[in-house]
Amino acid sequence: MFDISNDDNIFYACSHFEGSMFCLSLIEHNLPLPPHLLNRPLLDAIKEELERLFLDKVISNLGLCISIYDIRTIEGGFVFPGDGSSTYKVVFRLIMFRPYVGEILCGKLKASDANGLHLSLGFFDDIKVPVHLLPLKSRMGEDGIWIWEHECGDLPMDLDEEVHFRVTKINYPPIPVEQDANANPFSPMEIIGEIYGDGLGLLSWWAD
């Protein structure tokens, strides 16, 4: 049984913080190693398989997997009857993108329509600010751009602007059985944000 820990790199153990945009999740998985990887060093082969399975995938309630942080233990190597692969029981930690409800994040305004705003973090695009979570006096212009009717004048929410938003909910909708041909591609993880309140909304509204 191998034990490869990497604890010195966690500078801030969970005793310091309760929540963050990025966190670690400890996972155990029975991993079959396909025969074509068997001539590689074990650790490399296992890491490659784990990356293939988890990288950039959403795990329900755990978030979006960003990276394999480390591999803690590897057990097994059994070959099951009728199977060309060896199966290993691997315990490892993943870096997950999983903001907490209430966290303030900064995203770019990618799209705007009658439903509200769509924000993006570059590596994660499914952030929605629905109409009821926009500043109180907001109206949509003819070009689809939302405008905040501020006392000092109209403030348009132009595309490509940096927007500070508060995470109000994270949804993990179940995979639909059937989809219309015209429907938007299914997003397994969706963040609902609000920009209602002081200090939220376009960064240019509040910057010095």
Binding site: F11, G19, C23, Y100, F123
Partner: protein, 150 residues
């Protein structure tokens, strides 16, 4: 797949950035190939444009030590470190019940919110300038030189 611990530790943006950098991620998209996956490269690109890019562990440590007196929740400290709010308006949404927990008394000259903002400005470095801001800075310099000559 079995989740042994959903939350086995949290990471600041700086730590994720350092982790990816140590694996070979760079700002150059071609340089990333082979070292890190394209999806990891996208995370790196996002983080390199945030305050985390210029932060050091020493700066974060100093901030944590000096913000003790404000009695912030752990998650709030982390949010401040990652976002680096540069004025009172931007820091306000991060701190729950800000008006009740941080004293603002003009008569006695106390403004804890401003103290916290000043601490952020002093200890945590600003995020890298956006490309258009850099262009504006370059454009301004020749004009200033002309004005000095005249």
């Amino acid at each position: 797949m079995k989740t042994l611990q959903a939350n086995a530790g949290v990471l600041t943006n700086l730590e994720v950035l350092e982790f990816l950098r140590a694996r070979g991620a760079t700002s150059d998209p071609m340089g990333c190939l082979g070292a890190v996956a394209p999806s990891e490269c996208k995370v790196f690109d996002h983080l390199v444009n945030t305050a985390a890019c210029n932060q050091t562990r020493g700066a974060i440590d100093e901030f944590l030590k000096r913000c003790e007196k404000f009695k912030l929740a752990k998650a709030e400290k982390l949010n401040i470190i990652n976002l680096r709010p540069s004025n009172q308006a931007l820091i306000d949404p991060i701190i729950e019940y800000c008006e009740k927990r941080l004293t603002k008394d003009e008569a006695r000259g106390i403004d804890e919110v401003q103290e916290l903002v000043d601490l952020v400005l002093e200890v945590l470095p600003p995020p890298p300038a956006k490309p258009d801001e850099e262009m504006q800075a370059l454009e301004e310099t020749p004009t200033e030189k002309l004005m000095e000559e005249n």
